[in-house]
Amino acid sequence: MRLLLLLKQAVLLAGASTATQADILLSDAEIAQTLQHGPWPQVAQTDPSNRFSGNPNAIALGQTLFHETSLSLSGDLSCATCHQPEQDFTDGRARGLGKALLKRNTQSLWNMDQFRWFGWSGDTDSLWAQSITPLFHSDEMAHSPQSLHGLMLGHATREQIETLTGPLDTVSPEENAANLGKIIAAYVETQRSGQTSFDRFRDALAVDDLATAANYPKDAQRGLQLFLGEGRCSFCHSGPNFSNSEFHDAGVPYFLAEGGVDEGRHAGILALQSSPFTLNSAYSDDPEKTGAWAVRNVRFNHANFGMFRVPSLRRVMHTAPYMHDGSLPDIAAVLDHYNTIDMERLHSDGEAILRPLNMSQDQLDDLAAFLATLSDDG
């Protein structure tokens, strides 16, 4: 009798195990690929090029400065005017609006410590250098190093700043700008997105916990399979941050409606190479110049024209509109773009990665379901 009971339990357990395995649609190869997209969150590391990175006083002051409209020459724009924290650090507009309509979509500021380059065209190689850029852009905060230095000498936060930097009247205007950028960056780099249902699925697969993994919806699993395979998305949207932090031509027009072109990475490399604020410069606080190899060794290629940095897909459902020019209003439009991509628009001598996906509506829905699981961290 007891033997029969044990036999029945064994049969039931075997049945449960089979059912659980059947709930996982991914092949072993796809599981191996999936594991490359984690773990998440990544271990937070301080930026060695920014001596204020991780400093609680700098983080608090950086948050204040981030919202400080007096940092613009006109007194009515702050970082938060475009990078609105309550809108996932975006503004919901196709293209940013400063003192004039800007060329590009306002990017979110999540997980910035995961990137090698900053901005759509990688004009900068550190978050602190990127934080300086809008301060001096003529259509944004419109300061010069000298006017910004003069402003800060009489600013309400001067005492707090000097606690971190030393006397403001003994530093050059450029060093003052670098210090402000570093204080703002100390705050921005703390904005890290949380664990999503995809991450829980990935972590369960990593330890062979199929019962937990089976909670991940089937449509998202099918979408993940398309993302890794037929969709070819993971070539560029790779790693735990779903971005390889490099530049690609996604087939989005680079002509501006008002005339002219947005040269993308081509202009970004030129800006980078003429910038005084790089990881290879004296303004970096890192004596080892960690990461400076990138600005020293970056290649200037013909194909850089019209390339833009691959955005992260974390919290992607909250950061519409999409692409460098904000021309695609929602995820459905983005998927349709890749499904019917115009091959005539791509460089003839460029990368041979993109081609029309020709997916069915069900497949596109599955891809959208997968992307939603990168955005459900609350």
Binding site: E246, F247, A303, A352
Partner: protein
């Protein structure tokens, strides 16, 4: 592309001979039967994260070495030049290689030894 030139004939050292008797790395394919045996550190490169490899040229004291890599399936190369430096006789270190996409990459080495020029190829898979 950066090239390091170490000039002058140097006798084969015992340490280099030892390195070539233990070819535990990825052996490269040469374009010429006369080319010295060459191999590199056999690793699985990370996607879009800088990594280093060491090239060993057996029986070679000095050489000019240049390195590049392409992704044949996608018809693109690397976004960065690679620093090459000789570390000992016959061994060369390539720093900050970035394979920015998962998939198969082809390693390409051009080597000049005295007046002879050789090309080597190898493959690495980025997961």
């Amino acid at each position: 592309m950066k090239t390091l030139c170490i000039s002058g004939a140097v006798a084969l050292s015992a340490s280099m001979a030892l390195a070539c008797s233990d070819q535990s790395g990825l052996v490269l394919t040469a374009n010429d039967e006369a080319a010295p045996v060459a191999f590199v550190t056999d690793i699985t490169p990370p996607a879009s994260v800088p990594f280093d490899v060491t090239l060993t040229l057996c029986g070679t004291a000095s050489a000019e070495v240049t390195f590049d890599a392409i992704m044949p399936a996608h018809q693109h190369g690397m976004n960065y030049a690679v620093d090459v430096r000789q570390v000992t006789e016959g061994t060369f270190h390539m720093e900050n290689i970035v394979f920015h996409m998962p998939g198969l990459w082809e390693l390409q080495f051009d080597v000049k030894i005295d007046e002879a020029r050789y090309s080597y190829r190898g493959e690495m898979m980025v997961p």
